[in-house]
Symmetry: C2
Subunit: 140 residues, 2 copies
């Protein structure tokens, strides 16, 4: 279940301004991709998309922009064991992940769709919890 937002340029601008980020051409374009279209993209994928959809953009700007969006709380970064590359997630709320080991595809798992009952040794005070499930999709 992807967080697909469909946002107009104005809505993106508003979102950026609301989080104190200057809505430049490059940032708006990248937002169009990472907030609306993409599904757990890597920086590389963002760059590929941006090169197709902008006159010209540098690697540094892609990274700068993604970091800016993360700092602004519009995006989250994750790093999974199966890949060196960071992935960006437009689902900024607490959630878990499922990795389809055959395709490498990632799926968000909403906390409401799982029940985790966890009891840990008393000496640990748990603030947060990262869960990655691995397996395959049911064939059916």
């Amino acid at each position: 279940m992807r967080h697909r937002m469909s946002l107009s340029t104005e809505e993106i601008q508003t979102k950026l301004l609301a989080t104190g980020v200057q809505p430049t051409l490059q940032r708006i374009a990248i937002c169009r991709y990472v907030l609306c279209e993409a599904d757990h993209p890597t920086a590389e994928q963002v760059k590929e998309w941006a090169e197709k959809n902008l006159e010209k953009i540098s690697q540094a700007t892609v990274y700068n922009t993604l970091n800016t969006l993360v700092d602004a709380g519009l995006l989250r970064v994750f790093k999974f064991p199966h890949s060196e590359k960071v992935i960006y997630d437009n689902n900024v709320h607490d959630h878990y992940h499922f990795l389809d080991e055959s395709s490498g595809h990632l799926y968000d798992i909403e906390p409401k769709d799982v029940s985790v009952e966890m009891e840990v040794p008393a000496k640990f005070i748990v603030n947060s919890m990262e869960i990655v499930l691995k397996g395959q999709l049911k064939a059916n």
Copy 2:
């Protein structure tokens, strides 16, 4: 709860031979550290230890040896979100981790010490599960 084994050189040799790994000087030394003494070390820490405890060892041998031990099933590799570096774990059974966010220290959590009740959307066939808890240790 660390998996501290105290193993003699002979026992290490036997372990290596049993898994089809030639027990060279370097490998035995590194085993002495990673199987007995170390606690979730990085390759860098293994290298530092090895430089103190061997005449001479190269970076490549440290990495080669760690990879060999992982392939042999004597060690597991993990990669956590809070660090770029891979860590090696001599606990090769299924288990989870707790990250003390104040110290950066990792603790193994044995499955028997937690109860995880998890129900996920039916389309996912879950084969394994990585769990990292984050927080602090209870003060007292």
